[in-house]
């Protein structure tokens, strides 16, 4: 009887989770594995970066200073020349991730926003539109 109550409560709660909420969670989970495969080597699993060689992503001004549209292009095309993160200058370059498709990048950015940014989804449609506007 007690179990029945718990189960029915659980069903109630999960059904209360909106479609958007479920999609957000899916993006975050997928995004995490894309991050581990493509980004963590340099930026580290926790986003702390590597000394003065590779910039941190966690606890940085990137999330207020750089728009998701710009991020999409940096991820897809790479980054050359000097950049500043938290006021510190980094000279190296970031390789392009040409293999990542719009959906991968949407999930990746959503995961990073979830970890270090404003915890809002960055949708597939937004990513696709941003990709078209990359130089």
């Amino acid at each position: 009887m007690k179990y029945l109550l718990i189960i029915s409560l659980l069903i109630l709660f999960t059904s209360c989770q909106s479609k958007e909420e479920i999609m957000y969670q899916q993006y975050v989970v997928e995004g995490r594995s894309i991050y581990e495969k493509n980004c963590a080597n340099c930026h580290q699993s926790d986003g702390s970066g590597l000394r003065d060689l590779y910039p941190a992503l966690a606890k940085t001004d990137l999330w207020t200073r750089v728009s998701p549209q710009q991020l999409v292009c940096i991820i897809k095309q790479g980054q050359k020349g000097e950049i500043k993160v938290n006021g510190k200058s980094y000279a190296g370059y970031m390789p392009a991730n040409a293999k990542l498709e719009a959906i991968d990048i949407a999930e990746l950015i959503t995961f990073m926003k979830d970890s270090w940014g404003d915890k809002k989804i960055y949708s597939f449609n937004e990513t696709r539109a941003a990709l078209k506007n990359c130089r």
């Binding site: 080597n41 340099c42 590597l50 000394r51 060689l53 590779y54 190296g92 370059y93 390789p95």
Partner: protein
Amino acid sequence: MQLKPIALNVLLGFSLLIASCQEKKNLPFLGPKDTRVVAGKIDTIYHQIPAFRFLNQDSVWVSEQDMAGKIYIADFFFTSCPTICPKMKTQLLRIYERYAENDVIRILSHSIDPTYDTPSVLKQYATRLQVKSPRWNMLTGDKAAIYKLGEKSYMVTAQEDKNEAGGFVHSGAFILVDKNRHIRGIYDGTQEAEVNHLIEDIEILLQEK
């Protein structure tokens, strides 16, 4: 509580077992071996890293003579490497920090893209990684000599490959070399657990006379 004789025996057995496990472990000598007869006795000649000479990030020559009496870890990388090198450097940093005060330990990182990785490029890389010679030498020089040393002596792969991200294939191995330039262990430098193992083996080598 009083222990019965059997229980005591079991306890003794266990403590012996544990004690024997803690006995000093010896590291193997890796690579092809040879034998020679000296004064009627058979002597084993172990594989040894031959003479080498490369420039480091401070444009200073580093040779096998600088490694005399040193235990060192060798690896192969290039500064513009987008794949496993950053992971390897993250792991090597652990070793560098751990033995920061130990003058016996050295790290030799050989560039497999020496045309691009000039001493000044290596200097910038080392500075940004906040590491210094002579504890951590980043080496560049004649490409053929580096590749040959890698494949024939350190037994790792290092090749140019246009299809590979960054243009080179190479193994992520760390090679542990003792004070007489014998290879005593090879580890996957991209795996934290493997590098823990390497650190244990460095400790064993440090005890070796």
